[in-house]
């Protein structure tokens, strides 16, 4: 297997783990962790495809990834704040119970 294939396979696994975590856990923080894993899988793909592309221009993939990490950090901050506020309202952070905003 070429390094690219290895990378892609690894990221697929990572993505699948993240997705499973996000879908299967009821703890909101763990769901957030799952989402982070999926994001990182995507980041890994960016790096891999940039590194093993036929003519990698300098820093393209890295900048993508840095942006994505920054966005993910912001997203996590918002997500954690939401978690705290969910906790304040229902004294736990079980995602299944946070259904008050249904239509």
């Amino acid at each position: 297997m070429s390094p690219l294939q290895l990378c892609v396979a690894f990221s697929s696994v990572l993505f699948a783990v993240g997705l499973t975590g996000a879908l299967a856990r009821s703890n909101s923080i763990l769901v957030l962790l799952g989402i982070e894993l999926m994001l990182n899988a995507a980041n890994l793909n960016f790096i891999a495809f940039w590194r093993y592309s036929p003519a990698p221009s300098p820093a393209t993939g890295v900048i993508f990834v840095i942006f994505a990490i920054a966005v993910a950090a912001a997203e996590t901050a918002v997500g954690l704040a939401l978690v705290i506020s969910i906790y304040r309202h229902q004294r736990n952070i079980r995602l299944q119970e946070a259904t008050r905003l249904k239509g």
Binding site: L23, S26, V31, Q96, A98, T99, K102, G103
Partner: protein, 674 residues
């Protein structure tokens, strides 16, 4: 131009000032108000005497002082003061009689709590009356004229808490107002035609020849001269004020006022103002005499009204029981005589009678006041009687007044003035009916005055009030004595032997005649007076009334006639049934028009607007709004259906995301080849 005439305004101004003092004086300021009023009248009397003196210096001159009141358009409205012997005599008469009555009132009104107000009103009246007298402008005269009406209203209603007095005051004001409206129209007509209301204005006044000539030749529809129409309209005012038929109905009711008021206003001065007015504008009233074709002359109407009033007043007086009402109808009758004299062309005789009448009628009223005061406000002659011995001074002076009024020959003034009137009437070439009416009135006058005297003073007292009567204080009897002297002495100013008054008033020397000139007429009237006195004595003096409830001898003889006269010929009822009804009907009509016709039209418009509005609403709500509403409802339904997808389950969303991702990935993989 006599500069002193400009000071004539002081004569009415002094009483006006006194009225102002009385108006602001506190209620217990009795001395202040009465003192000011009497001092002002005294001042006015002194000034009047000076004025008369000035006027008599040249009796034919009309001394005037005209001034501008306010600017109007390119011209101005002007007023003026006038002095001639007629004015001068009236001024002296009004202020002298006024002064005496003021003094009398000190005693008569002593117990009244509104003493200060009484003197305030009396002074106001005197000021207005003197204003009428000194005016050289019909406008100023009209102003004074209305103000005497106001004063009369206030004084008739002086005891306004009595409903009868309040009603009488209203009746007096309204009735005279009807006449005054005619006066006002005459005034504006005259003003419009001549451009001036000044009586004498250096040749341009309305009483001066060239203006009069214009007026008399200006012919209206029906052949009536403008001066006739104007004269008749102005005469309406005199009819109202002087209690002439058919507007005399207020005068007897006016006796609800205090007796000094009746004496001053409703006997001596104000009611005579109509006569004065007609004498004042006599040249205007007589201007149409030359027009043979005119359907009616002013003076003919005046004479006719005067004759009817003279006879009617005397006839009604025969059947009255109220002391003051008898005198009131006597006043109506005597004013009729004056108008009669004016109408037959002798305004001098009218003024002569006006002056003598002022004295003897004031005397009679004040005598009646003295009786009423003594008898605790008992006015019904059936309840009086026997006052001769306790009230000697009143009896004596009242008798003098009575004889002057009846025209007892030679000594009393009324005789001479009445003779002058009858003499003038006999020389009138239009008709002798006024003369006959006047002669009939002489009999009736003698008759009812004898009845009055017998019932009040002779016999025995017929009520406790009359039994306890005693003579009034000197403040009341002294004016009586002074007036009695006047009632006798004044006659000698105008006898045929020494016609001083006549020559002064006309400004021409009137030749003296023998005392017995026209002796036949004089003898006839003496016989008639004697007949009246004899009949009165026969019916009332020979067999005196025994009790208050006893039948009147005349009523026993002719009950229906007596009742008819006693009810004042039912004229009040007639007016209530005609004019009163018409008035009420007009008012009701106005309200109905207002509420149902005009209000109804507006209401209809409003209903129409409401109807249009409701139609509009129907279209809006049923048509347009319903369409919009149904569309909106569908949109809402759709929203409700879709919102069910929003479960709030985050895992559900994630799952949907994952499935969608897988589906998309599969689509990309499977369709990637193309």
């Amino acid at each position: 131009m006599e500069p002193r005439v400009a000071y004539l305004w002081l004569i009415p101004a002094l009483p006006l000032l006194a009225a102002g003092v009385g108006c602001v004086a506190p209620r217990n300021g009795r001395r202040l108000a009465a003192g000011a009023a009497i001092a002002a009248m005294l001042g006015a009397l002194v000034l009047s005497c000076f004025a008369l003196h000035l006027a008599l210096a040249d009796p034919s001159a009309h001394l005037v002082y005209n001034f501008r009141w306010f600017d109007l358009g390119n011209g101005a409205v002007r007023l003026g003061l006038l002095l001639d012997p007629l004015n001068g005599l009236m001024c002296v008469m009004v202020s002298l009689v006024g002064l005496l009555i003021f003094i009398f009132s000190l005693g008569y009104m002593d117990a009244d709590e509104n003493f200060t107000r009484f003197f305030c009103f009396l002074s106001l009246f005197a000021a207005a009356m003197l204003c009428v007298v000194v005016a050289n402008s019909l406008l100023l005269l009209f102003i004074g004229w209305e103000l005497v009406g106001l004063a009369s209203y206030l004084l008739i209603g002086f005891w306004f808490h009595r409903p009868a007095a309040a009603a009488a005051a209203k009746k007096a004001f309204i009735t005279t107002r009807i006449g005054d409206l005619g006066f006002l129209l005459g005034l504006v007509w005259l003003y419009d035609t001549t451009g001036s209301l000044l009586l004498y204005d250096g040749g341009n006044g309305v009483l001066e020849s060239h203006v009069l000539g214009d007026l008399a030749t200006q012919v209206l529809a029906g052949g009536l001269a403008a001066s006739t129409a104007i004269g008749l309209l102005i005469f309406c005012g005199a009819v109202g004020k002087s209690g002439q038929f058919p507007l005399h109905v207020w005068l007897p009711d006016a006796m609800e006022g205090p007796t000094p008021v009746s004496a001053l206003i409703h006997a001596a001065t104000m009611v005579a103002a109509g006569v004065f007015l007609m004498a004042r504008i006599f040249p205007l009233a007589a201007a149409d005499q030359g027009l043979a074709a005119a359907p009616v002359h002013v003076l003919t109407v005046v004479a006719g009204i005067g004759a009817v009033t003279a006879l009617m007043g005397a006839a009604i007086a025969v059947a009255q029981h109220d002391l003051k009402r008898i005198l009131a109808f006597s006043t109506v009758s005597q004013l009729g005589y004056m108008m009669l004299a004016l109408g037959v062309g002798s305004w001098v005789a009218a003024i002569f009678h006006l002056l003598t009448h002022a004295f003897f009628k004031a005397l009679l009223f004040l005598g009646a006041g003295s009786v009423i005061h003594a008898a605790h406000h008992e006015q019904d002659i059936r309840n009086l009687g026997g006052l001769r011995s306790p009230m000697r001074a009143t009896y004596a002076t009242f008798s003098v007044g009575m004889m002057a009024l009846t025209g007892v020959p030679f000594v009393f003034s009324g005789f001479w003035s009445k003779e002058a009137i009858l003499h003038a009437a006999s020389e009138w070439n239009v008709s002798h009916l006024p003369l006959y009416a006047g002669l009939a009135g002489v009999v009736l006058t003698a008759f009812y005055m004898t009845r009055l005297l017998c019932e009040v003073f002779w016999g025995a007292p017929r009520s406790p009030a009359a039994a306890h009567a005693h003579e009034s204080p000197a403040v009341m009897t002294v004016p009586l004595v002074v007036l009695a002297v006047g009632a006798v002495a004044l006659g000698f100013l105008g006898t045929p032997a020494w016609p001083w008054l006549q020559s002064q008033l006309t400004g021409e020397a009137v030749p003296a005649h023998s005392l017995l000139e026209g002796g036949g007429l004089m003898a006839l009237s003496i016989v008639l007076v004697a007949t009246g006195l004899g009949a009165g004595w026969a019916l009332y003096g020979r067999r005196l009334r025994a009790t208050a409830g006893a039948d009147d001898p005349l009523a026993a003889a002719a009950p229906r006639l007596f009742a008819f006269l006693g009810a004042r010929m039912k004229l009040d009822e007639l007016y209530a049934a005609t004019v009163g009804r018409l008035n009420t009907f007009a008012a009701a009509l106005a309200v109905i028009l207002d509420r149902w016709v005009w209000g109804g039209a507006v209401g209809f418009l409003a209903r129409f607007g409401e109807f249009t509005g409701s139609v509009n609403r129907g279209v809006d709500e049923g048509g347009l709004n319903a369409g919009f509403d149904s569309i909106s409802e569908r949109i809402r339904g759709a929203g409700r259906a879709y919102s069910r997808a929003q479960t709030g389950e985050t895992h559900g969303y994630l799952r949907a995301l994952a499935v969608a991702f897988v589906v998309l990935a599969l689509l990309a993989l499977l369709g990637g080849g193309q």
